[in-house]
Amino acid sequence: MHGVSCPGLLRGSFVSRMAMNKDLMTNFPLSARRGRALAPGAFALALGVFLWYALIWLGGVQPFILPAPHQVWGRFLRALADGSLAGHSWVTLQEVLAGLALGAAAAMLFGYALAKSTVLEKFLAPYVVASQAVPTVAIAPLLVIWFGPGLASKVLVCALIVFFPILINTVVGVRSVPEDLRDLMRSLHASRAQTFRLLELPAALPVLLGGFRIGATLAVIGAVVGEFVGADRGLGYLLSVARGQYDVALVFVAVFTLIAMALSLYGLVALAERATLGWQRQAEQSRMTFNPTEKN
């Protein structure tokens, strides 16, 4: 990172986001400790369900405040059987994927330009910081007004919410490309395209995929925020309808489906990391820093 104050700032908030996601990240170790990690996971799940029941029995909580796990499960099976859950999930998933693709493409494009040009960075940094400060909940209604109540407005909310982390990680990633390797490419007469494809992309990939991990989960939130504002399909809509009808079990079904969707996307990014970042020994390295200096 160069001595400009803004990127430091950007990075700071990014780091805090990363910290928020830290627990989630450690649940997806890239090394092959999978099998053994399953047992504690199952135990944690069982404990969660037990505490859930305990809360209901000991606290005397009525089902319309907090339904019991088996009621949620039963509601899940019904929503699955009548096809509504799959239909709404598919709508939300489309919004998430399209939003992620759009937001990531824009973020990588801008991020690359920003990383390559200090002038551009100084010029755009205030806008970039502002884009992060805007509460998505506040502008989602505007997007619905501007782009209509259909798919487009939700995709844009998702795109906006994933833009910042991926942008920052693109900048950090491209800036982390070692100068010596750049010199090597120059001395070998590499073209711009070759430098990008053979050096910058692979070198920035670990940090970039870190941004995607965060972006994938944020995109799910974005879709729901967009659907809350105005929609007639999607899990966020299902959530609103369920709340409106006091069907709290269905609220939980929708929430859990959203969690499952976010975790699956997160897992997919983790898989992509395993597939492309085998050259890094530890997942730990891939998260925050890229250390090109091999041991000598």
Partner: protein, 252 residues
């Protein structure tokens, strides 16, 4: 001086801009390197040896003077130069073979040709069996061999080496020196190598240039007229000791 000059450095000066009037690094350097010569560059740390190498490679424009390579003024990286960096500077995501063939890939060589060249280079630097290894699994010495193989892969006329063994331990360093000697004798390239190690310079070079403190000038030039092939025993001869003393005094 034997043969015609492959590389000429003419009144070369470099000043880096900084807060107070600029950092004067190179001060009117003048020397030339003949074809197939092995030239060692010695001098105190911070005397601008790396700056000179980067300038010769066309990565850094000089403030004044010029560099002429193969009769052409250097203006940007010239073709036909291989560069070996201080650390191996390998791409950690590419295998040994892929790192070696990078120059060929960039030049658009056919896969078959690249594979053949890679096999040849792997053999030359003695890394058979490690073609598919990733840099993280290599020792420092092995990584530097890969770097040398990469620098030689596109058959450059001039090899610029910036303290290639500086980060290695003493034993590995000596072994790599001999290795380089063997490679150089097999390939007969023109080499310009920056080093801190007097013994290394004497073992390898035909000529040694000693730089002064910054701003650097050539404070001494020494012809290393030790017989070749040079074997390890050479280190213990009086001739070697005498040259070694002269270089040491010049650096001080």
């Amino acid at each position: 001086m034997t043969g015609k000059a492959l590389l000429e450095v003419i009144r070369l000066s470099t000043t880096f801009r900084n807060g107070n009037g600029g950092l004067h690094v190179l001060d009117g350097l003048d020397f030339s390197v003949a074809e197939y010569q092995f030239v060692a560059l010695l001098g105190p740390s911070g005397s601008g040896k790396s700056t000179l190498l980067r300038t010769l490679a066309g990565l850094l424009p000089p403030s004044r003077g010029r560099v002429v390579f193969k009769g052409q003024r250097v203006d940007g990286p010239p073709r036909g130069v291989g560069y070996v960096f201080q650390n191996a500077n390998l791409m950690p995501w590419r295998t040994v073979e892929e790192n070696i063939t990078l120059p060929l890939e960039l030049a658009g060589a056919a896969n078959g040709a690249a594979a053949a060249k890679s096999r040849e280079m792997v053999e030359l630097v003695g890394l058979q069996g490690f073609e598919e290894a990733l840099p993280r699994d290599l020792s420092g010495g092995m990584a530097q061999r890969v770097a040398i193989a990469r620098a030689l892969a596109h058959d450059p006329d001039l090899l610029l080496m910036d303290e290639p063994f500086g980060a290695l331990d003493a034993i590995t360093r000596e072994r790599m020196g001999l290795e380089l000697l063997r490679i150089w004798e097999a390939r007969r390239k023109t080499v310009l190598m920056v080093t801190h190690d007097i013994a290394e310079a004497l073992m390898l070079a035909d000529r040694a240039l000693v730089f002064s403190e910054r701003p650097a000038r050539v404070s001494m030039e020494l012809t290393v007229d030790l017989p070749r092939p040079r074997l390890d025993e050479l280190r213990y001869t009086p001739e070697f000791a005498a040259l070694s003393r002269r270089l040491r005094d010049a650096i001080r």
